[in-house]
């Protein structure tokens, strides 16, 4: 059943778009002329879609997903608003709940000065007490917030006066500002009535008792159906949001989302697959928005496996896989190869690194150097009687990674290596890679803007976090530890550059690609700022052309 359905999707899409191309587009919009008018217009309802529903209104008991963040960051405020400007330098921060901040001399105390004109939706003022209580909730064991690790370095949050709050840190760290700013500020006066021990079984209570402070308020949430946000009329920024309402309909099927964009039922959709992006780009009624993501896809080699413990072998594997060919086949212009987990659209990318070429002959030579030759003439390399044969894991739900695996499998076969793809459900996949019960796996990761490479490459993270490659290099450990003692991200740069060089030589992972995020909207929608921090970034500045 499933196989049949999957196989039928491209056929359905092709038929759909061939027919759609012959049909008239949505009526009543004069896209070009309106697109040129840059004066924002207030009012109207933007209708967009999510593939899955949100998990509630309380960030601390909801999993960290793009969908949850998309909604919660519109109805709750952070102390500061991180900006998507980290191409040339570390990200900057715009004032949000806090209008300013300052550091102590020794850089272990950070003082925020809060705006005095911010109100909760029930009229109560937002104060420093809310900030302190939010930190207590974030770090409470029974709340078990997924991202509580951000707060590990914070020893106390002190209320100086109702609009001044002080964060005390255990030690200097380059990402202190990000650590303090992580997580939206929650309403103490409304939500402290519910003991922390009951939070994990009270999702609906938080919705029913929602009190928010962002540019939008949540008018309603019908599970698996739609979320309706309305303009917060007492929001402190003059004249915004421009939209009266933003409706997020839950449309699980990607093809349905695209068909609804074409039919005009949806104004904005996100995560368009590359094949459909080309069709949308060629449609005059629609606008394709693309921007480089900071997520990247790679093959993890289990460095503890006798197959992959030699860096020469791992380099050979990288050279045996035509990464550019994979990108061309699967993404076209919407992706690029990368040489580093810090991709080339991020300020700290090491531009001196030259990618390993696609060179099967050199790969064979390196493998021979490491002792892998075909001694028994069966076409598969072997060493000490062991053939070079392994399983390469993928988890379900990602077609491009599966396709990439098949291409890599064929290319490895050409140099005498047999890789057998195996598909697991995501939970089983995670358990296998975390505990090292695998040989190779295709994975994806979004590097957070704190550029903390510890999770990927520090030996202390083996079996704990994302060092699934079980990579151990004392020099890398030392560089990561030293980088972690710097004041601010900028000071990490020399360490990050050197770590990228070592990783390039050692190839614990083979980096495949990083791609563009592809979003699309009709010409009614203006001011769209979707970027690599959020596909709904700055929704308060989006506006709709008036009808007619």
């Amino acid at each position: 059943m499933r196989r049949f359905q999957t196989a039928s999707i491209p056929v359905v899409l092709t038929v759909f778009f061939l027919l759609a191309a012959c049909a008239p587009g949505p009526q009543g919009t004069d896209g070009e002329s309106q697109a040129n008018d840059d004066t924002p217009h207030s009012g109207g309802t933007l209708v967009s879609a999510f593939a899955v529903d949100i998990s509630g209104v309380n960030e601390l008991i909801a999993p960290t997903t793009a969908v949850n963040d998309s909604v919660l960051f519109r109805i709750f405020l952070h102390l500061l608003e991180e900006q998507p400007d980290f191409t040339e330098h570390p990200p900057s921060f715009a004032p949000q709940l806090a209008h300013s901040y300052e550091w102590s001399e020794d850089h272990t105390v950070l003082t925020f000065h809060l705006r005095e004109d911010v109100l909760w939706s029930d009229g109560a003022p937002v104060t420093a007490e809310d900030v302190r209580w939010t930190w207590q909730a974030q770090t409470h064991p029974e709340v078990a917030w997924e991202a509580s690790y951000f707060k590990d370095n914070i020893t106390d949050v002190e209320v100086v006066n109702p609009h001044t709050v002080r964060f005390h840190f255990h030690q200097v760290h380059p990402a202190q500002l990000l650590q303090a700013n992580e997580g939206v500020i929650l309403p103490k006066h409304a939500w402290s009535r519910k003991p922390f021990s009951e939070w994990r079984k009270s999702r609906n209570w938080f919705y029913e008792n929602r009190v928010t402070n962002g540019p939008f308020e949540m008018e309603s949430w019908k599970q698996d159906e739609e979320i309706v946000l309305t303009r917060n009329k007492s929001y402190f920024e003059e004249g915004v949001p421009y939209l009266d309402r933003a409706v997020f309909r839950i449309v699980p099927d990607q093809t349905s989302q695209i068909s609804q964009l074409f039919s005009g039922d949806l104004d904005y959709i996100t995560n368009v697959p590359p094949d459909d992006a080309r069709i949308i780009r060629d449609n005059d009624e629609l606008v394709l928005r693309d921007y480089w993501s900071i997520g990247f896809i790679f093959i993890t080699w289990n460095n503890e496996s006798p197959l992959f413990s030699d860096a020469r072998v791992r380099r050979a594997l990288t050279m045996a896989i035509d990464r550019q060919g994979i990108v061309d086949a699967l993404w076209g212009e919407f992706a690029r190869t990368t040489t580093s987990p810090i991709v080339d659209t991020v300020w700290a990318h090491n531009r001196d690194i030259q990618p390993w070429p696609y060179d099967p002959e050199r790969a064979k030579h390196l493998l021979a150097e490491a002792g892998w030759t075909d001694t028994d003439g069966d076409g598969i390399l072997d060493k000490g009687g062991r053939p070079f044969r392994f399983e390469i894991l993928n988890h379900t739900g990602n077609r491009q990674r599966e396709d990439a695996t098949v291409i890599a499998q064929q290319q490895l076969r050409e140099i005498g290596i047999e890789a057998r793809p195996r598909l697991l459900d995501i939970s089983a996949f995670h358990a296998a890679v975390l505990h090292g019960r695998y040989e190779a796996a295709v994975e994806g990761m979004t590097m957070a803007t704190d550029l903390n490479l510890r999770y990927l490459f520090h030996s202390g993270q083996i079996g704990v976090s994302f060092n699934h490659a079980r990579y151990r290099n004392p020099e890398v450990d030392r560089l990561i530890d030293r980088a972690d003692r710097m004041k601010g991200l900028e000071e990490m740069a020399p360490y990050l550059m050197r770590i990228q060089e070592i990783i390039h030589e050692d190839q614990p992972l083979t980096f495949l690609w990083f791609s563009k995020r592809l979003n699309a909207h009709n010409r009614r929608v203006h001011g769209v700022q979707g970027n690599l921090l959020s596909q709904w970034f700055g929704l308060r500045y989006w506006w709709l052309a008036p009808p007619g």
Binding site: S8, P63, A147, S202, K222, R249
Partner: protein, 321 residues
């Protein structure tokens, strides 16, 4: 008859218990657990362990099973890991939407299946019969997913007359009750048609075949000989007998209808039980999966029981066995 019913109900309960026990162990023994699904790769193992403790997953499996069983015996199906609310509330919240869809689909299936079955039987071996046989086979064989997308293409895009998704229009909360109901019917049409069509196709074929068997039998010849009109012969005397297997089919199709609803709910963004179950499976939400399995198992058992009872009522030889 009562003995027959009691035997069947008793057997069904044992079967249901076995299904639930096997399901419990299979889902728990599969590699990985719900805490592995936290998407933030940096979440330390310590946080995942906190959640495992909170969900009782740190206890030995045997103990988890006994705890679950004793809670269920007291009517407590637990708290959903994914929705963080009592399982029963979540299922009960989504069930009415699925029932609306299933009811609509059943009406479509019978409303189309019975008349078309009669037409096919009356026009035996004529063009209409051939067309209906091929057509019903086609509808029955095509994946619901594909049928749904084609229906959206045709009715929502090329001839934009029906909505492609959801139960209500944007802003329907402000409508009067009557208009809101019409809005619901408007949104129900396409999904009910797509969910009901395969069942309708099988009903068409069953009605046709049953009627063809009956047409040659003596009691219908007698009815004709008495001078009854052909309409009365077919609709009253023929159809009543032909419907017995059809009702049996409905009993057996009841769970299939709800399984089909899962696909239809995804294609048409219909917020029902299928979506909740689908999300729960993806999230390894054990309490939810167990409750949903119990519910589906109950439907299978109840549907089969219904089919058996109908059969027993219609055919005394069955209950005498």
């Amino acid at each position: 008859m009562i003995g027959f019913v009691l035997r069947r109900v008793g057997g069904s309960l044992v079967l249901l218990f076995l299904v639930l026990t096997v399901t419990f162990f299979v889902i728990h023994l599969a590699p990985g657990d719900p805490a592995d699904l936290l998407v933030d790769p940096r979440t330390p193992e310590e946080n995942r362990d906190r959640l495992r403790r909170l969900w009782g997953l740190d206890r030995p499996l045997g103990e988890q099973y006994v705890r679950w069983l004793s809670a269920v015996a007291q009517g407590d199906w637990g708290t959903s890991f994914n929705y963080q609310e009592p399982v029963i509330d979540e299922l009960a919240g989504a069930l009415p939407n699925t029932l609306v869809l299933a009811l609509g689909a059943t009406l479509v299936a019978f409303g189309l299946g019975i008349p078309l079955g009669i037409v096919a039987a009356r026009r035996h071996n004529q063009t209409a019969d051939h067309a209906l046989r091929v057509g019903s086979l086609l509808v029955y064989s095509l994946p619901t997913f594909w049928l749904g997308l084609m229906a959206i293409l045709l009715f929502s895009y090329l001839l934009p007359i029906l909505p492609a998704s959801h139960m209500h229009s944007v802003g329907s909360d402000s409508l009067s009750a009557g208009r809101r109901f019409l809005d619901l019917l408007y949104h129900l049409t396409l999904p009910a048609l797509i969910l009901g069509a395969p069942l309708g196709a099988s009903i068409t074929r069953f009605v046709r075949n049953s009627l063809l068997e009956l047409f040659g039998q003596d009691f219908l010849q007698t009815a004709r000989a008495k001078g009854l009109s052909e309409v009365r012969v077919v609709w009253v005397h023929g159809l009543r007998n032909a419907l017995v297997p059809v009702v049996q089919i409905l009993g057996l199709q009841l769970p299939a209808l709800l399984n089909g609803a899962l696909v239809v709910e995804v294609v048409f963004s219909w917020p029902g039980l299928g979506r909740v179950v689908f999300n729960s499976l993806q999230a390894r939400d054990y309490p939810m999966i167990m409750a949903a399995t119990a519910f589906t198992g109950f439907l299978v058992v109840a549907g089969t029981l219904l089919a058996d009872l109908v059969h027993a009522v219609a055919d005394p030889r069955v209950r005498d066995d």
